[in-house]
Amino acid sequence: MDIRKTNNGGKLAVAVIGRVDTSTAPQLEEQLKADYDSCGSVTIDLSEVSYISSAGLRVLLSAHKVMMKKGGLSIIGAKPELMEIFEVTGFSDILDISGAE
């Protein structure tokens, strides 16, 4: 899994590529944690993510909890397969998730 981050004056844009599962979720969490202090809002782009498991969902949730106090967390680019997961688990209600264009 690859992560590309860009910080535009406090707006953190994170693009994730690959699978987010038990083995790769910790890496995502670490990357996000590293920048919490320096940003006001976070946007996670999942357009190149093919798979997400509960491990990944938990990371998103904790990120949301942190960013909620600041500018918020939004998730964009979710493919239909991913949207299914988010809907089935009810995360689409909790988080700000938008699908792929």
């Binding site: 699978r19 093919s50 997961i85």
Partner: protein, 362 residues
């Protein structure tokens, strides 16, 4: 007259004898898939046919010529038999078009102009005309293999031998090569293909050789072999094809390996990406995140089987493990359990001396 006649072919090596006694006949127009577990002499058989391996005993007759006879001019016979290798073996010092035209010009004395034209035509056919002046190291694996096929065809052979043509390819490139082979079959080219691509073998062949126990263990039509294999070992093999079996033997599970085995299985059986994902989720959420931590070493080994039924298009995943009674669906992490229950058609738990979770995906 049969094109190739194989009589009591035997190949011995110092430590092993992969071919003990092989007899077979290949007729014009046959497309024979040679399948079987590894190490059963599939490639050896093929390579004995064009004498890249020298049989210890037995005879091979090609088009009436006994090629196992030392007096035979094997080079001439080989010109009638094309071979496509697992590792492509394109001539690194020649350009693509030269690869294709070299043999016809030198061996068949085809005039250069004509060879060039025909070569370009072949490249067009395999979709690589624009790479004519490139060199092999500039091409991807799939492209190289297609060129290799073009090179083999350029000699206008009577039969094509394929030695695991897609085994060295990235899954994304397997398709392009298979489609070329498919089109050749459609044109009626006589072919013998050693392959692991079962679905492909099913679709394309006219005959299937299942090799085991030092010879052709069972042969028959594709439907005979794949649907209703007669002999025991064949049956086991076929069954294994359709069934994935994973065994977790330690808490340090090689997660990535298991995930990719599921992937392979799914791809081989042409399952949809969603089905494959679901099986992976099942494995991850249930086995890895919940069962393993919960039952610890006592629960090892954890046996996972996945089976795919073609008839109703459903896949079934079974996770069996020892240790104390533990139901991940109710006792496990809520999120995990919810995901599986919602995505699967059904998810059941049973305990009869051993734990067993059965999940069905539609």
């Amino acid at each position: 007259m049969s094109m190739i006649k194989i009589e009591h072919l035997r190949k011995e090596y110092p430590n092993v004898t992969p071919l003990q006694d092989v007899c077979a006949e290949v007729n014009k127009g046959d497309v024979i898939s040679i399948i079987g577990p590894s190490g059963t002499g599939k490639s050896t058989l093929l390579r004995c046919l064009n004498q890249l391996e020298t049989p210890t005993s037995g005879t091979v007759t090609v088009d009436g010529e006994v090629i196992t006879d030392p007096k035979c001019d094997i080079s001439k016979v080989r010109r009638k038999m094309g071979m496509v290798f697992q590792s492509f073996n394109l001539f690194a010092n020649l350009s693509i078009i030269d690869n294709v035209t070299a043999a016809p010009v030198t061996l068949l004395k085809v005039p250069k102009e004509q060879a060039y034209r025909e070569g370009m035509e072949l490249l067009r056919r395999v979709g690589l005309a624009e790479k004519a002046d490139n060199f092999p190291d500039e091409l991807s694996g799939g492209q190289k293999q297609r060129v290799a096929i073009a090179r083999a065809i350029a000699m206008k052979p009577e039969i094509l031998l394929f030695d695991e043509p897609t085994s060295a390819l990235d899954p994304t490139m397997v398709g392009e090569v298979l489609s070329v082979i498919r089109s050749l079959a459609k044109e009626g080219m006589t072919m013998m293909i050693v392959t692991h691509e079962m679905k492909f073998a099913r679709d394309v062949s006219t005959r299937v050789f299942y090799m085991d126990e030092g010879g052709i263990y069972e042969e028959g039509s594709p439907s005979e072999i794949f649907e209703s294999p007669k002999k025991e070992k064949t049956r086991i093999f076929i069954k294994r094809l359709k069934q994935l079996q994973l065994k977790i033997t330690s808490a340090d599970v090689d997660f990535v390996s298991f995930v990719s085995q599921i992937e392979d299985f799914g791809r081989r059986n042409l399952l949809s990406p969603r089905a494959i994902r679901n099986m992976q989720l099942c494995f991850e959420e249930l086995a890895v995140q919940n069962i393993l931590p919960a039952v610890g070493d006592e629960g090892l080994p954890v046996d996972i089987t996945a089976e795919y039924s073609e008839q109703d298009g459903t896949a079934v995943m079974t996770i069996a493990y020892g240790g104390r009674k533990y139901d991940p669906l109710t006792e496990g992490d809520e999120l995990s359990a919810m995901m599986i229950k919602k995505l699967a058609n059904s998810a059941e738990f049973s305990f009869d001396k051993t734990n067993c979770v059965t999940v069905r995906f539609g």
